[in-house]
C-alpha cells in the first residue's frame, strides 16, 4: 500500500506542478469567460457610426407621437419636404439614405413595397430595422382601418403544448415541458463533460505509460513495484488530477463569468422582448423564475453523487484500456492510433446516443444504453435530470462498477506484458493473447 501511495503521489504531483497543467487549468476558464465577453460584445454591438435616414411618409403611418424609434446607431428623421429635394441634398444634409413610403392603396394586399434611395444598398441591420418598423406600424394601421380588436386578434393563434402526465394516478407528475428542456440542458452538459473527461484523462494515462516505456524506466520501476500497482498508481494519480481540474473549473468558471459580467457591465445576451409581440415581458420573467425553481427542485443530492460515480466508473473503465494500449505501443505514437480505435468507437457511439437520450430520455435506446457499461458513463448522466427510475440508475451503476473492475483487471494483464515488450509492434491479436498468457 505504501508503494502504491508513493506512485499515486508522484503521478499526481508531477502533473499538477507542471506548467502546462497550471496554464490549462487557469486559461481554460479564462478562455471560456473571454468567449462570453466576446459574445456579449457582439450582441450589444451598435455599429460604427450613426446612420441618418430621412423618411418621407406618404402613407401616413408615422407621426410625431408614433414616430420611428431609433435603433442603436440608426437614426430616423420624419421629413415633410418632397422626396426630390432630399435626394438632391442628401450629401449636404449628411444622410445615409432616404426612405420613401408610398400611399396605401389596397388594404388587403399581402405585400407592400417601399423605396430606399441611397448611394449604397442598405446593410442588413438597416434593412431589418426599416422592415420591422414599417411592418409593425402597418399591422397597427390595418387593425385600426379594419376596426379589429387587437386583443381578439392576439388570441386567435394558440400555442399548443403537450404536458406528459403519468397514467397511473399514484405517480406524482414531475415532468413538465419546461423541466424536460432544463433536463436536456443539464443532461447534455454532464454528458459532454463525461465524454471529454474520458478522452482527456484517458489519453493522459496512455501517454504516461508510453513515456515510461520510451524512457526505459519501466524495468527499473517494476524491479521495485508490481506492474499492477504501477498501473493502479497511474490510474489513481491521473484520476485525482482530473478531479482537481474539474473542481477548479467548477469554481473558477462561474466566478470569473460573474466577475466579468460585473466588470464589463455586460448583460448576458438576451432576447429583445419588446420586439416580439407574441410574448409578454412579464411572462418571460415568469418563465425564468420557473426555470430557476425547476433547477432548484431537481434532486441534486441524487444527481451529483451519481454523476461522481459515473465519472469514476467511466474513467477507470476507459483509462485502464488506454493504459493497456499505451503499454502495447512502442516508441511510435502514430502506431498507437490504430490501437485506440476500438476504444474510441464505443465512446463516440455513447456520445451520439447521449444526444438522442436527452431528446427522448425514456426511449428503449436511451434506457438500454444507459445500463450498458461501455455507454452508461456518458448516456446515464444525460438522463439523470429527467429523474429516471431509481432501479435503472442503481443497476447501471452496479454494472458499471463491476465492468470497470473487470477492465482494470484485464488491462493489468495486458499491461504487465506490454511494458516489457520492446520494439515489437503489437496488434490486437497479440494483445488478446497477452491477456491469457503467463508472464
Amino acid at each position: 500500500m505504501k508503494k502504491l501511495w508513493l506512485v499515486v503521489k508522484r503521478e499526481y504531483l508531477t502533473r499538477v506542478r507542471r506548467r502546462t497543467f497550471i496554464i490549462a487549468t487557469i486559461v481554460t476558464p479564462l478562455a471560456f469567460v473571454l468567449f462570453f465577453v466576446v459574445v456579449a460584445f457582439i450582441f450589444s454591438y451598435q455599429g460604427d457610426k450613426t446612420k441618418r435616414i430621412a423618411v418621407v411618409d406618404k402613407a401616413g403611418l408615422f407621426s410625431e407621437e408614433a414616430g420611428l424609434a431609433d435603433n442603436g446607431s440608426i437614426h430616423f428623421i420624419l421629413e415633410n419636404r418632397p422626396l426630390d429635394t432630399l435626394r438632391a441634398n442628401y450629401k449636404e444634409e449628411n444622410l445615409s439614405g432616404v426612405l420613401y413610403i408610398p400611399p396605401i392603396t389596397n388594404l388587403y394586399a399581402g405585400s407592400y413595397t417601399v423605396q430606399y434611395y441611397a448611394p449604397k444598398s442598405p446593410t442588413l441591420a438597416v434593412e431589418t430595422a426599416m422592415r420591422e418598423r414599417i411592418g409593425k406600424r402597418l399591422r397597427q394601421y390595418k387593425i385600426e382601418q379594419f376596426g379589429l380588436d387587437e386583443k381578439a386578434l392576439k388570441a386567435i393563434d394558440s400555442n399548443v403544448s403537450i404536458d406528459p402526465e403519468p397514467i397511473d394516478e399514484s405517480v406524482k407528475d414531475n415532468v413538465s415541458k419546461l423541466a424536460s428542456s432544463i433536463g436536456a440542458g443539464i443532461g447534455s452538459i454532464m454528458g459532454i463533460i463525461m465524454y471529454m473527461a474520458v478522452f482527456i484523462y484517458g489519453s493522459m494515462v496512455m501517454r504516461s505509460v508510453m513515456e515510461e516505456k520510451t524512457n526505459r524506466i519501466v524495468e527499473v520501476m517494476i524491479s521495485s513495484v508490481r506492474p499492477f500497482k504501477l498501473m493502479m498508481g497511474k490510474l489513481l494519480g491521473v484520476g485525482a488530477v482530473g478531479l482537481t481540474q474539474l473542481a477548479i473549473w467548477a469554481v473558477l468558471i462561474p466566478l470569473l463569468t460573474s466577475l466579468a459580467g460585473l466588470f464589463f457591465n455586460f448583460e448576458p445576451p438576451k432576447m429583445d422582448v419588446s420586439d416580439m409581440p407574441d410574448i409578454d415581458p412579464n411572462q418571460m420573467e415568469d418563465m425564468m423564475l420557473l426555470a430557476m425553481q425547476e433547477i432548484r427542485s431537481l434532486n441534486w443530492w441524487f444527481i451529483l453523487p451519481s454523476f461522481l460515480l459515473y465519472f469514476l466508473g467511466g474513467y477507470f473503465l476507459y483509462a485502464s484500456l488506454f493504459a493497456a494500449v499505451g503499454s502495447a505501443i512502442g516508441d511510435d505514437i502514430g502506431e498507437g492510433q490504430s490501437l485506440t480505435i476500438p476504444i474510441t468507437i464505443p465512446v463516440l457511439l455513447a456520445f451520439y446516443i447521449m444526444f438522442s437520450a436527452v431528446e427522448s430520455p425514456d426511449s428503449s435506446l436511451a434506457v438500454w444504453s444507459s445500463i450498458f457499461p461501455l455507454f452508461s458513463p456518458i448516456v446515464m448522466p444525460a438522463r439523470l435530470a429527467f429523474s429516471p427510475p431509481v432501479w435503472q440508475v442503481l443497476t447501471s451503476i452496479a454494472l458499471l462498477l463491476a465492468a470497470s473492475v473487470f477492465f482494470v483487471w484485464l488491462s493489468g494483464r495486458i499491461y504487465r506484458i506490454g511494458i516489457l515488450s520492446y520494439g515489437k509492434k503489437a496488434g490486437w491479436k497479440t494483445i488478446i493473447k497477452w491477456t491469457f498468457s503467463k508472464m
Binding site: N215, E219, V220, S223, S224, V225, M439
Partner: protein, 308 residues
Amino acid sequence: MDQQPILQLRHILKQYGDFRAVDDVSFDLPKGSIFGLLGPNGAGKTTLIRIITTIIPADEGEVFLNGERLHERHPEIIGYMPEERGLYKRMKVGEHLMYLAQLKGLSKQDARRAIESWFERLQIKDWWNKKVEELSKGMQQKIQFIATVVHKPMLLILDEPFSGLDPVNTELLKDEIMRLREEGATIIFSTHRMEQVEEICERIVLINRGKKILEGEVSDIRQEYKENLFEIRYQGQLDLSFESEVQAIVENKPGRLVIKLEREEDSNALLRRLLDQGIYLQSFKEILPSLNEIFIKTVNEKTETAVV
C-alpha cells in the same frame, strides 16, 4: 567467505509458447563474489535476471535468495540496473532518487541521508535540484547507478553497466563496484564485453539458447580450454630442427614463434633445447585463451552440435 551461497538457482525453466527462453539452468552464487552472466544476444540472460528480480515467475524450478525461497520483499535487498534503463526526464534529480529509494523500502530520512552521502562521494552535491533532462548521458548513468545501490542491496545485478560511459566514468564505476563488494555485496555482471569480464569477474556462467554451457572460476576455465600454445620471443638465428617434436608451428615470424605442444609438460624440454641453441631468448610464455575465444568457441560448438 560465507558457506551458504547467496543465490541458488535450481532447474529454472521458462517457456514462451514453443520457445524455451531458459532451459533447466542451475547454479550457485557464492557470497561476496563478482559473477559474470554471459551469453550471446537472446541467450536468455535477461529472462534469467528478470526471474531472479521477481519481475517474472519461473515456470519450473526454484530460486533461493539467502537460503529463502524468492518472495515479494526480496526486491528490497536486490539492486537491479537493467540494460534498458532510463529516468523520468522532467523530474529533479534529488526528488527522483528519493522516489526510487522509497520504493525500495527506505524511509524518507534514510533515503535522504543515503542519497546525500552518495552525492558527496561522487562530488555532485549541487545536482539535487537539477532536472534529469539537463544532465548528459554519462551524468544520467551516474544517477542510475546511485538509484541501483542507494538501498545497500546484498545482491547487485548490473546488465551492461558500462555501455554509454566514457573511460573516466567507466573507471569510476568499476572502483565503486569493487568498493561495494568489499562492503559485502555480491555482484552479478551481465555483458558481452569479454575483456571487462576477464578484468572484473571471478566466476562466470555462460548461457546459450537458454542452456547453461559453461560454469566456473575464470582462471580454471582458461586453464581448461588452453591448447598448450607457447610464444617464444628471441633475437638471432633460430634453428627449427625440433619441428618434428612439436605438434605444430602455429606462427613463425622473425623474432616470434608460436608453437603448439602435445603435452604441456613438454615445454621444459623445449625450453632447454632453445637455450642450447645459443640464441638470445627474450620471453617464453604459455598463451592462455581469452574468454572471448572461449566464448566464441563454445557457443559455436554447441550451436553446431545442436544443428547436427
